[in-house]
């Protein structure tokens, strides 16, 4: 498959970077002429994955979150990675309403939102090594 364009953004696991990550991905994807709704879907899914790396992956420690974005034809691929504590049971983690941090008022809906707003969501994780979420969405755009 031919990659038409690619970017990678790396940032500290600070919660103030959640909005930065959304804007960066949206600015990059906007060259595909997405609809307002498609762009909102992508921003939301990115927000979920990046927030998870910050809260669950690194908990209260500092580390880097890496977001890679590739445009391949009319499809966008977004990969969110951290080198945080990892997920023991991915199947359980992906279940709606499951959260390991109810005391933080997490809703356990992050993966469900990603799955609803993107066409494909793949999760790879290893305990104490980190987590990699790969999401794909076809952009039909307004044309």
């Amino acid at each position: 498959m031919h990659v038409n364009n690619e970017m990678k953004v790396e940032f500290l696991s600070k919660s103030s970077n959640e909005s930065f990550a959304r804007v960066a991905v949206a600015a990059f994807v906007s060259q595909m002429d997405p609809t307002v709704e498609e762009l909102a879907d992508i921003k939301t899914a990115v927000s979920e994955a990046v927030t998870n790396s910050i809260i669950h992956g690194y908990e209260n420690t500092m580390g880097y979150v890496v977001v890679t974005c590739r445009i391949i034809g009319d499809t966008v691929e977004i990969i969110v990675e951290d080198k945080g504590k990892g997920i023991e049971n991915i199947e359980l983690a992906r279940q709606p309403l499951y959260t390991s941090r109810p005391e933080l008022e997490r809703s356990g809906m992050g993966f469900t939102v990603m799955e609803t707003f993107m066409d494909e969501v793949e999760v790879e994780s290893e305990v104490n090594k980190g987590t990699r979420v790969r999401m794909i969405k076809k952009i039909n755009g307004s044309r």
Binding site: S15, S16, E18, S19, R22, E37, A40, K43, T44, S47, E48, T51, I54, I55, L104, E105, R106, S107, M109, G110, T112, V113, T116
Partner: protein, 111 residues
């Protein structure tokens, strides 16, 4: 992000402006909880007219406030979410426990 308050008898109306994500949720929760406790309001209306973005962190904020309001035997409502926010509310099932109104008038009549 900004939270501003209005009141109507025992009802607190919290208008949230900007984006509701994990980063801003901490301050939003804190402000709403303080205001409710300060004047012992019974009901809460979240005015989302000026909310431009929300992710599932917002669901946690809504459910958390709902639990507090339930303890007071009060009612909680959401007013005027934009389409992106509304989809999060629908996907997460929040709308089944916290009814959504398209305008403030309707919400105030319900309370």
């Amino acid at each position: 992000m900004q939270v501003s308050f209005k009141t109507r008898n025992k009802t607190l109306i919290a208008e949230i402006e900007g984006e509701l994500d994990h980063h801003t949720s901490v301050e939003i929760k804190d402000k709403i909880d303080k205001e409710i406790n300060r004047k012992q309001y019974k009901n809460l209306i979240l005015d989302f007219t000026k909310l431009t973005f929300m992710d599932s962190s917002g669901v946690g904020v809504i459910i958390g406030r709902y639990k507090n309001i339930q303890k007071r035997n009060g009612k909680m409502l959401i007013v005027n979410p934009n389409p992106q926010v509304n989809r999060i509310i629908t996907i997460s099932g929040v709308h089944k426990i916290v009814p959504v109104f398209s305008d403030m008038q309707g919400a105030l009549e319900e309370i």
